[in-house]
Symmetry: D2
């Protein structure tokens, strides 16, 4: 039996939040994720795009300090002795760059939702801003926080499946099968806020990031056939992508928002010279492992065959499912380890892993490459 080791052993990190007001989904996720391992205390926020909404949302949460906008928050918090040490940015994509910049330049750590930005230009500028800052930048590609994703990565690194040949990754959803007009759908299908990629940006980036994270590979080129099936939609709602990775592995990536019967069916299958691994986000406590020539094995989180890489981001015994929020919390807790090390000047533990601004750039580059390829009739383009 494995029991987690994530209890808070020190003072909580003072956290602010940009975006995440009343009608946002992802803000609440970030707040819960920040609480699970008791590493953060949310003390300030600029939760909406207008001062009125921001205030209403902040009061609803009982926030000690509520700001009209993120710039004001960055300036004032930076001046306070008890100001925030880190900020979560959970706005629509097009705001990520500007918001992050304000905090980074004032030495406040940034925990930012994905994709990194809505344009490749912004992404490159944000990389520079992060490099120029002493503050940390953590991107919440949350699926890398799942224990069995960590386990899969560790098994690939250990050579359990041999040299990788084939990567099949997909992230189908169905919620945009028809035209939707609620807020979550609205900004995600508006290229000025979401970016040029629709499904590619919103979920394809997750799929691509997951493939790279587990395999340790990167795509060198891709060919993408994007489509907007719903009439009038300005961004892709379905993407078929062929990938060629460094080292010779090949892959397919499918992202879709128009596949009825799929909720968040992110799934990855990796095949090497010696074995195969299969994992699905909706059943995240299971990892299927087939050493070639042996029976398929079901490795459960914390069960037999599950090792240290999963155990260190796991809280409860096998057979008691952990889910999306715990995986998300793992990103926050990894970030907390790095932030707390920063506080004291200590070195960060070598096993701390979180997605960085560089991963974010790769994601935006992936979207950009998909859009470029698709415009050229799915020709191969370099990443």
């Amino acid at each position: 039996m494995v029991t987690g080791r994530n209890e808070n052993l020190t003072g909580r990190i003072r956290l602010g939040m940009v975006g995440g007001g009343n009608d946002a989904f992802i803000g609440g996720v970030h707040r819960i994720a920040s609480r699970i391992d008791d590493q953060y205390e949310l003390v300030a926020g600029a939760l909406s795009s207008t001062p009125e909404k921001s205030r209403a949302s902040g009061e609803a949460l009982g926030l000690p300090r509520i700001y009209d906008d993120f710039k004001q928050m960055a300036i004032r918090e930076a001046r306070r002795k008890d100001g925030i040490e880190a900020v979560s940015i959970v706005t629509p994509n097009h705001v990520h760059y500007e918001a992050a910049r304000e905090f980074l330049k004032r030495g406040i750590h940034v925990i930012c939702d994905k994709p990194l930005t809505s344009t490749l230009g912004d992404a490159k500028k944000l990389v520079k801003a992060a490099e120029a800052s002493d503050a940390l930048f953590i991107l919440t590609h949350n699926y890398t926080g799942y224990p069995m994703v960590r386990q899969a990565k560790a098994m690939v690194e250990a050579g359990d499946i041999g040299k990788i040949r084939v990567v099949q990754v997909e992230y189908p959803q169905d919620w945009l099968t028809i035209e939707q007009d609620f807020k979550q759908a609205e900004w995600r299908t508006d290229p000025t806020r979401s970016g040029a990629g629709g499904s590619t940006g919103d979920i394809g980036t997750h799929a691509y990031n997951l493939a790279c994270f587990i395999t340790g590979l990167e795509a060198e080129e891709l060919a993408a056939d994007l489509e907007a099936f719903v009439p009038g939609r300005q961004v892709d709602d379905n993407a078929h992508v062929m990938l060629r990775f460094n080292g010779g592995a090949k892959g397919m990536l499918w992202s879709s928002q128009v596949a009825p019967g799929n909720e968040n069916a992110l799934r990855i299958r990796v095949y090497g010279e010696k074995g195969g691994l299969e994992w699905a986000q909706e059943d995240p406590n299971y990892l299927w492992f087939t050493p070639f020539g042996e029976p398929k094995r079901l490795i459960t989180r914390g069960g037999a065959g599950s090792g240290e890489a999963a155990a260190r981001v796991s809280r409860i015994p096998p057979g008691h499912p952990e889910g999306y929020l715990e995986g998300f919390a793992n990103i926050y807790t990894e970030a907390a380890r790095a932030i707390l090390a920063k506080r004291t000047g200590a070195a960060v533990d070598a096993d701390v892993v979180y997605p960085t601004v560089a991963d974010g750039l790769k994601g935006v580059t992936f979207v950009d490459a998909c859009v470029r390829s698709s415009k050229r009739n799915a020709a191969w383009v370099k990443l």
Copy 2:
């Protein structure tokens, strides 16, 4: 898409904890569960059976107030203006009654792990203590907190499967297949601390509680064939139970700690005159519903066919799995709703549901009946 509504809208409830020191599993679960919806702040504890261990564990958690024992804690906290409003009791079973009594009689709400007590005598006394107190008593039969368990209960109440005929419930594990000597195993197989039931008390009570919760039925009599398969074990590690419910339904219950390949495989199937429902704890976001004569349907948490009963204890969209900790947190959050209402004298919302001391008594009665029946060669005994 359904988004939860569990954000903390008021000041946190001041919480203490009895038991749950360094090497306990369930203490950490309670602490995380208390934080997820931001309703509690843990401020005091008597975390172990010895003052030394209690102090070490308390300091490790950074607790503001650490006590040598629960009685001292009850007395002193009751006197403080900022004393705890509620206490979580997460000790081995035989301590539940004495600890709970101390807090109840001082008006401090009790959130107690299951089973209620290690003996039927203690259970009855605890019921009286709870009745005599103005404080609330919440038992963490946490599986009733899973959204799709709530959904199942709601569907039974709505008549979706008609009058119930058959209830099949089981909770197999495998961790005690061989003799184990670590702490979790050690007290659970010691009748003086765990009670006369082994698997029946530790997990059979969960299975029985779940069956009653979903169906709204209670067993009138049972016949139990208990066995301790591992040589030298003093309590049952496998239990076969036949049940007869009020209203004529019949059931089977199986609990086992010696079934290799089962981690926490709690599973329930309920069949009525019009349909069937199936749910499994290890895949808790799914509820299978078959209206007789129609195809089986997969209802996902928050997806189509999932209603308000699930939504009000759910935080994230369908396809993003919630797990054990979120289900556990739902018990804490339901308790918080009741506690906060108490604070202000307001009426508790009618939809707030949590297991009570009466449910706890039923669980201990179930264990007692199993042991009595088994001693009489599995004769039928009344509950």
Copy 3:
């Protein structure tokens, strides 16, 4: 890759059939099963209870020789030089004994559907008739023909799961959830034709036989709580049974015809001191094996970990599912091996396995014990 070895290498066995007329389900199954491995040629039949129907059914099948009743068929075929060598008896249960007797006493091999008879008295007489005859008696407990059931049995024998402790077996269906009046339902719920057991006789016997076949154990006593949930039904449609096996293993058996969402959900789980095995009839090409302390393994028919016991009753490579008819055919082919050996006086291969009249008696004894126990308020009765 495993390829089967079941091709017919000699002349076909001349086969007759009793029962199995136009509106019967099981007759067609037997006919297909007899053809799959090309060991039999159906040449005669008395397919119905009336001469008219028998003739119509026989003509529809293009049978060379059609008889008005089974006695006439037995007498005349026994006299022919090219008369049938074997007969399949697929009538309702109450006819089995009388029909089988007629053929056995004339030296014609009998392949009989289960349960053996509708009464324990008939069963005992049939055992004697079979013992007195030089002809073979094969009972089509067809589930023992599934390759992965053979594999499970072989693994138990090899000690892969150690000494058996717990056996959980169940066979739920839903087709009798409401009153049905078509032929298949009608005779199965009539105790004069089906026997005193309803679900116990029709499917409980299968479950019990499967448990004994795989484990090599026999129940010494049982306690059964039978119920007829549908108003007016004269035989049980749901049975809860606790079992105590020789050697100390314990089990539960559930048969039901009123469990909506279950078609033919026969499933067995066997747990021993060293591991566990799980198999389900509706997904018969999979066998789940968990050595205690290791990950669960999925053994597929013919795949890695699947051995000779499965291979010898398997025809096609892994990943190409075999089903119910192939499993049924395996009983016919095992019978053919024995019958062909009889023809030449050769010894039957040691690996030939099929259910016998003794197994049939055990099944009827099981039903009788269930009925006796249930009448005595589910008291323990010896088998």
Copy 4:
């Protein structure tokens, strides 16, 4: 409950076989398939490429008439009054055309394994040969015989999922993960016998055929990235293909022989404007159907929601799995219906469906297009 209706009502069709000798897998499959519904009697064969082997194999099967080669067989059988009416051709691919031609021109119906031929040139010639003959040509794209594939096709035709947008189809295997030298592997990886496509020809054609069969669509163009991962292999063992169908639907097709953990994991998912369908060959009795906005439904073969298209090719009740051989037998039985109609000059029933020489040409065209595209760096090519 649905019971099949496939019993033989007339004299058996006299069948010959070319190929399918002792060490071939697919020959045995064809023979069993031909027997299941009792429509054929195998009476002649030229089972191997050499007279000696042909004789040995024929004698092992007890064939009445054994020939040294297929040409001899075609000539002599055509002259006999009781000569074969149909021939099954189950040789390696490069022999299909020549063998088929000999029988077609003599008016003997041909039942031929897939792919149609090893080259596009041969395929076109075979189409002409079939068109010029009065005899029927049936291609055993056997997966179209599965009842739930028929059901899926019927549901698409009925508009249950609306206009199709996305088709995801895949056929991964793992048996060629390493170099193999047994016969089945050897000819399949030799382009002179198998054709220019490796996985594309052997299993990609099945996947493509299945997609077209269910959706009623055809690909207009494709882009294929083929790879031979195993060193020295001369044909592809992994293929990534993007498809554009007539009417605007898009698809991905993956075939692989190097994906450890996959046996014959043919799987298709079809998504339209109103719903989605999912089916997997290894669990063929299940069809998953999600009407957009409703819970996913599990339609079982013969169960609720399963209609006439499945029932007419189904033999046993729901919950009793049918498998690969029954699906294969359905092709033979559909062929028998057409052949028997030919015998008498009657019209074939409108619901008789089997893959034709035209479907075969499409398959070879698909392989050819994959190879052409891949040579041009996965450029789009027309089919």
